[in-house]
């Protein structure tokens, strides 16, 4: 019982405790790091697929050019479509009176009622109303849109802003219809006002469910404080992008009667949004980025409203042709357009000006020096630190603030502090995927960054649950991607599997996956989620397709047809939406056939016309022989066999 014995027991005990603590800490840090890595992998999957989809835009764009070449020959009685695609101009005030007066607000409407001229009370009113999940009546939507267009028309291509020691400015990035994030920003940073300036750097709409509400709050705030609320155009402020990425759908769903009118006016309003903002003559704020040929002096001068859409590249009508146009399979010559439509060349931007705007809206900064085509997105370029220095110096600027890319922390600084990305939609891909952020700037002071993350629950779920959600979501869409390229993938696998064993080495499998899907992903780390391996470490490459298949709308339909329609469903959706100029949701069998023929030949798909015909006829048709194409496309959804199993497991845990 002497001091000696008890202290040595104590020593041994505390040594044991120390070792035990070390073991637990070591294990935990390993586990936690692997969680973070899994989170990062999931993010990479989301991002690659997002950009690969954007790449599809380019192909679609080529298709539209092609279609216009040939469509008018096949369907000469439909100049309306061509006119629609080439943007006829709305006459201003006359139409305004017409439209707005046609739309009555019934007494039974208990949503927010705006009063023109708008004041700050209207901003409050909207915010409160939207918090209550109310929908703003189409009458007010249209009024706001018309008024916004009228005021925007008076603004230059680049808004000039000055800060002072007593007046900071707040810069927000992409919101993408995430209303909760906007509310959170206003909660933390205050509503816009004469003493609280904001710049919203594009991509207000698409993907999220409240694009309309965000747009209304931003436009109303702009109308109340036109000198303190600045809006820049993003690549999603584009009616073609809205067709694919959800805003059009949202509008037609929320405004069943007047949605079409709203869409028409919105198209125009987008084109009048300024291209960018310049703060204190030294900071350039634009949505995407720059290229080595960016010429701000030129951009100050262009007629920005002629930039209709990224998918509508200017088509030259003389000998100086785009090579794309020459791809007509029929070998038909291009007929000059002035005769056939109301379109005149002066309604489009010249090609080099159009390209300048595309660069501003679509480019991404990268660490590699130089300027390269942005192959992930299919538009704009990748610009290196040398390009940034060159362009900033050329126009006597100090910094570039841009958005366009989702960052895990909501913001990112690169190119030696000269380029800042700010992204304001938290949980963009999935709950827990990323934080949102905004920047506060003032004169010569260093920018301050504020981060946040919207969460539905009152307290954050444990990290491992959030990561699991993200990961399952990411793997799911990756598997769907694989399914949409199933035939190509199997061909690639079989090419390497000479012994027809159904197995490949990890290296062979990873190679085929990367090459066929065109996605730069960590295949080795992802493989346990996608395929089974045998005891020798070889991949059973068909195992992915065993628990997932596309639900056939009609039993007899061939699987290649199904796969093709599934793969191109979003392109088809856009094309149908464009043809369906009265937004009825219906197109005639004839239009469908003509459409399919063109699509078939341009995309080099080997599906017989009669197969598609048969399929369309077997779907529920309206009595007048027209197709509800949304129903048609909805039918091609993917069934994940193990889904039900996973859901019940989750309940058990």
């Amino acid at each position: 019982m002497g001091c000696g014995t008890s202290s040595s027991t104590k020593d041994r005990k505390s040594e044991k405790a120390l070792k035990a603590a070390l073991v637990i800490q070591n294990w935990y840090r390993g586990y936690s790091a692997r969680l973070k890595a899994r989170q990062r992998y999931a993010l990479t999957i989301f991002q690659s697929i997002e950009y690969a989809d954007e790449q599809g835009q380019l192909q679609l764009s080529n298709f539209f050019s092609f279609m216009l070449e040939n469509y008018t020959q096949i369907h000469e009685k439909d100049p309306e479509l061509v006119a629609r695609l080439f943007g006829r101009t709305l006459q201003d005030s006359k139409d305004r009176q017409e439209y707005v007066s046609f739309v009555d607000v019934p007494d039974s409407y208990n949503g927010p009622r705006l009063q023109f001229p708008l004041t700050f009370t209207d901003i409050d009113l909207l915010v409160e109303a939207f918090k209550q999940q109310q929908i703003l009546h189409a009458h007010y939507v249209l009024e706001v849109l018309f008024e916004t267009k009228r005021v925007l028309k008076q603004m230059p291509n680049f808004t000039q802003v000055k800060t002072s020691p007593t007046k900071e400015i707040t810069i927000c990035g992409d919101l993408h219809g995430k209303l909760d994030d906007l509310f959170l920003i206003f909660y933390k940073n205050g509503l816009p006002s004469g003493s609280n300036s904001y710049i919203f750097n594009g991509d207000f709409v698409d993907r999220g469910k409240h694009s309309m509400e965000i747009l209304m709050i931003l436009f109303v705030s702009f109308l109340v404080y036109p000198n303190d609320l600045h809006l820049n155009r993003g690549n999603h402020e584009d009616f073609m992008m809205n067709l694919r990425y959800g805003f059009t759908k949202e509008i037609l769903h929320k405004y069943k009667l007047h949605g079409k009118k709203i869409l028409q006016i919105l198209e125009d309003v987008y084109t009048w949004l300024p291209i960018g903002t310049i703060i204190d003559n030294e900071i350039l704020v634009i949505h995407g980025g720059i290229s080595e040929s960016t010429d701000l002096n030129l951009l100050h001068r262009i007629e920005r409203h002629k930039m209709k859409s990224v998918l509508m590249p200017p088509i030259s009508i003389d000998e100086d042709q785009d090579t794309d146009l020459k791809k007509t399979k029929t070998g038909a010559n291009v007929v000059p357009r002035e005769g056939k439509t109301n379109e005149s060349p002066s309604e489009q931007l010249p090609k080099h000006e159009w390209e300048q705007v595309i660069d501003i809206l679509w480019s991404d900064p990268r660490g590699k020096r130089g300027c390269y085509p942005n192959t992930s997105r299919g538009g704009g370029c990748y610009f290196g630190p040398d390009i940034t220095s060159k362009i900033l110096n050329k126009f006597q600027l100090k910094m570039l603030i841009r958005s366009h890319e989702c960052k895990p922390e909501g913001y990112e600084i690169c190119h030696d502090g000269k380029v800042v990305t700010v992204f304001s939609a938290s949980n963009y891909y999935e709950e827990g995927s990323n934080r949102g952020a905004y920047i506060k700037l003032c004169c010569d002071m260093t920018p301050r960054f504020f981060q946040y993350q919207v969460t539905r629950a009152t307290c954050l779920r444990p990290l491992y649950q959030r990561v699991n959600t993200m990961e399952s979501s990411a793997i799911r869409i990756l598997k769907e991607r694989m399914l949409s390229r199933k035939t190509d993938l199997i061909r690639a696998f079989q090419l390497q599997d000479r012994s027809k064993s159904g197995k490949l080495s990890m290296g062979q499998w990873a190679f085929s996956m990367e090459n066929t899907l065109g996605l730069n992903l960590p295949w080795r780390s992802l493989s346990p989620h996608l395929v089974t391996t045998d005891k020798n470490g070889n991949i059973n490459y068909m195992s992915t397709f065993q628990d997932i298949h596309i639900q056939k709308p009609v039993k007899e339909a061939q699987s290649t047809l199904i796969e093709t329609l599934y793969r191109y469903r979003s392109d088809l959706q856009i094309i149908f939406n464009v043809i369906d100029s009265d937004h009825s949701g219906l197109i005639s069998m004839e239009e469908f056939r003509a459409m399919w023929k063109l699509f078939n030949s341009h995309y080099s798909i080997h599906i017989e016309d009669f197969q598609v015909d048969e399929l369309a006829e077997r779907m529920d048709l309206n009595k007048d022989g027209s197709i509800d194409f949304n129903e048609f496309l909805k039918a091609f959804y993917v069934v994940h066999k193990l889904e039900k199993l996973n859901k019940s497991d989750a309940n058990l845990l």
Binding site: K16, S32, P365, C414, L460, L463, G507
Partner: protein, 223 residues
């Protein structure tokens, strides 16, 4: 160093027992992979060098041993590259030094904080820039994987560690006890790490950590 590759078998050729080298040291479960690689190598590589021996059942030695190491190293390189690229945001073959720990651990290794510190010192520039270049990281990480350094903690060791801290053998630790041990002993947790662990480990009803259940849950999550 001591990271020699040990051949798993010796072969009898012409009555003599031949031992081959350089030697490959691989865990038993990888043995089948190696044999498979050998067979593949053999079918494509019809040339046999003078230091190669072919036994009756067609297994190769020496040259194959080298080739296998190449194959193994090549696969490791690709694995490391993939893991690195995910954190290389600017696509210029560098990652922030603060993410190196995550990358190393995502590759299946479990270094302690001290060991991690040493590794970082090995891969850093002479004048630390805050960034680690791929060219420096790759060879070091390849050695780590080849030598199978920093093996993860087996489940039962982890369980025993909790049991040591739970001296009265109740089957759980209180929140305060866990906090005390994790933030005061060993390589202490930061506040963020502590909160993160508590959020998943604490049973909200009893406000304590039932470590056996906790471990079981984490193991399921990782598999």
């Amino acid at each position: 160093g001591s990271q020699s590759l040990v051949w798993l078998k010796s072969q009898k050729i012409g009555g003599e027992t031949v031992e081959t080298g350089p030697k490959i040291c691989l865990p038993v479960d990888k043995r089948n992979t190696i044999w498979f690689i050998f067979r593949t190598v053999k079918s494509e590589d019809s040339e046999v060098c003078s230091r190669c021996y072919l036994s009756e059942d067609g297994l190769i030695f020496y040259c194959a041993a080298l080739k296998v190491k190449e194959l193994v190293v090549a696969e490791y390189h690709r694995k490391i590259k993939e893991a690195f690229e995910v954190f290389d945001h600017e696509a210029n073959n560098t990652v922030d030094v603060r993410e190196i720990g995550t990358i190393i651990r995502s590759l299946g290794c479990c270094p302690s904080e001290g060991e991690l510190h040493d590794l970082i010192a090995e891969v850093e520039e002479e004048e630390p820039t805050g960034y680690i270049r791929y060219e420096k990281f790759l060879p070091v990480m390849t050695e780590v994987l080849l030598e199978r350094r920093y093996r993860p903690i087996p489940e039962d060791t982890l369980l025993r560690a909790f049991e040591v801290l739970d001296s009265s053998k109740r089957g759980f630790l209180t929140r305060e006890e866990l906090i005390k041990y994790m933030t005061e002993e060993g390589e202490p947790f930061s506040q963020e790490e502590m909160e993160e662990m508590l959020s998943a480990a604490v049973d909200p009803e009893s406000n304590s950590i039932h470590y056996k259940d906790y471990i079981a849950m984490m193991v399921v999550d990782e598999s």
